[in-house]
Amino acid sequence: MIDFLAAAIRIATPLLLAALGGILSERAGVFAVGLEGMMLMGAFASIVGAWAAHSALAGVLLALVGGATIGVVIAIVTVRFRADNMVTGLTANILAAGLTSYLLRALAGGGRPIAIHLTPLPPWPIPKLDQIPVVGPLLFSLPPLTYLAIVGCIGLHAFLLRTRTGLTLRATGENPEAAFASGAEPMRVRVLAVVACGAIAGLGGAVLSLQQVGTFTDGMTGGRGYLALASLIVARWNPIGAALACLAFGAAEAFELRLQGFGVPVSSYIVQMAPYVIALAVLAGLGRSSRMPASIGQPLQWD
């Protein structure tokens, strides 16, 4: 059971980081369809950074930069040029897939991808606390980026509700013209929110590559960015809710791994569909009651 929960947390961590970034972006009024590309770029940059600099910290920092780069691209095209958020996000995902795949091979100088194998980041047990039965191994013996995700989740919640900047960000997502009339700069707010979203989602990618596997493969995010997007909508743009939604998706996937382990005669393909089907079912269940930030997806209208 503890193993199962630990697996759920492990699977949920990259999703959660991406979802947190997505909440920032969407509450500022920009759809976060580009999470997948941001994660992929973060995953790639962190592995290459850690490998080149022989430092995990360098990897983490580069993950921030890599994800933020995609964020900058999306911010320019959607905020400055007022392009459709959804299509721009998808495009950025394609670009990230192509760029990481190309660079991985270009680094080796030819047609074959470069092979980087690093040791995945080990857990950092917190002394004493990790000895508590059940809770200790589950919550106090986690790898570093997982702690960061948990802290980030609470921090984001406080940021949105308790700080002036958070208030401005929410106002921009609700009614940018009113925010502008109140002295905010909606364009700046949206650009920064999308770039920050990229950096945080990039960390989510680093969890996959640097913390969990120790290598990068083409398209290794495998749709997790989209799943993070689904989870933040299911959670109605609330960070704490997003954590729960990610955990639920994590549990579904962990359950599938379990079933395979026990040789239960259920097709793994059917079980792999679970997160997507659950997300659809929850969205369908919420239906109209999921109130989006009022101005989301709408371009800024004045000079």
Binding site: L167, A171, N175, S182
Partner: protein, 495 residues
Amino acid sequence: MPAFLEMRGIVRRFGGVTANDGVDLDLNEGEILGLLGENGSGKSTLMKVLFGMIAPDAGRIVYRGLPLSGHRPSDTMAAGIAMIHQHFMLIEAMSVVENVMLGWPAAGRILKRAEMAQRVREASRRFGLDLEPDAMVADLPLGRRQRVEILKAVLREAQLLILDEPTSNLAPREVADLLTILRRLRSEGKGIIFITHKLPEVLEVCDRVVVLRAARVSGGARIGEVTRAQLAEMMVGHDVTAPHAHRSPTKGPVRLKVEGLESPGLGPLSFEIRGGEILGVAGVDGNGQIELAETLAGLRRPRAGAVMLDGRDITHAAVAARTKAGVAYMPADRSSTALVRRLSIAENLMLRDSREPPYGQGMFLSVAGLQNQARRLMKEYDIRGEGPKTPAAKLSGGNQQKIVVARELDRKPAVLIAHQAAWGLDPGATRFVLERVLALREEGAAILYLSSELEEVLEISDRIAVMANRGFAGVTMRDGADIRQIGLWMSGRAG
């Protein structure tokens, strides 16, 4: 000592339209200045330039010795200028105190929510605003929302307040309260610019007035040294329109009959309109007018009640069926309901009739039909655009509304629902719209004319109903109507 506010030679163009053409304006401390002008005369543009929401093409602004140029709202607010917009700049999904804290440095980087709530309560008491800090803006009536805007201004210790058409969404009672609040602010030495096109309010509360007409200053005077007629002449360039020559209503049969009509935000409501009769609906916006118009037009489903057209039940008919049955509708929202701005004039003319000849021929659109019909309607309804293919967005507001008039009236409808049909139009276009509606009346149609401009309703109607609280507060014949009684109905007191 430098002047309190000095604006010189302000010019601002939008595309081909000049909204301000060398406008000068001065304001003193402790003074309420009325900025008067018709819709579209450039008042709002001038004030948005002052507030820094749009940049002027030329001109300079000096506020208490401080030149303002390239400024943004954040700069002007820091300098002590506040603007209360016609369409309130509030976040509906947030509480009063959150709206107050938004963009206000004094709220602290980490929000001092409790302290701010306390200040909201104090200021609310001091100025008689009656606001609770934790109330959600979405739940407040429009009059209260305006007070949130005033609260924001006074808490930030603004010395100059700009109010853009502050009374347009208010009932008479709320207007009186607002004027009281403004006098109290003046007595504290604040300068106030009061933008309006309503003369009585100007005469009641202002110290001085500046009048704009067609993007230029057409006059100015101290209140007390000028008569209402003189102000009106400055505004429109000639004496105020004489009331329409009114023919006695042809007593036709009942064409539109509404019984116990109910939908969210409306009713229950019952009334009848005869052929050749105009029922004018006056009242403050937001009392069920849009609900009434859209329910009759088939855009909203009624919860209960019946709508009969010439004795036929059309309560549940779809929009297309209603149009075919003879219901015409001119919506209040021109820019994205009545018209599709990026489509051509010709396409907008066929918007509601694309499946019918001469436009639709079976499965296909007839290019020739579209061409000829558009040419004819543009001529007959005096729609001035380069050609049928010109996008509607390129036309002036008056010509855009003429497209709607041409489309809806050329069908020879049995019933016309016109909502804010002359809103924001220049005097010429207004007259055009009113004359066409009156001509339709002569042809025997039943007309429901909804407008928040009381004078317009008085001018055109045979009977007048006043909407308040989702229904008719009272109905009266136009001839011999008691204006005071209508005012009482508008403030929500049933007669």
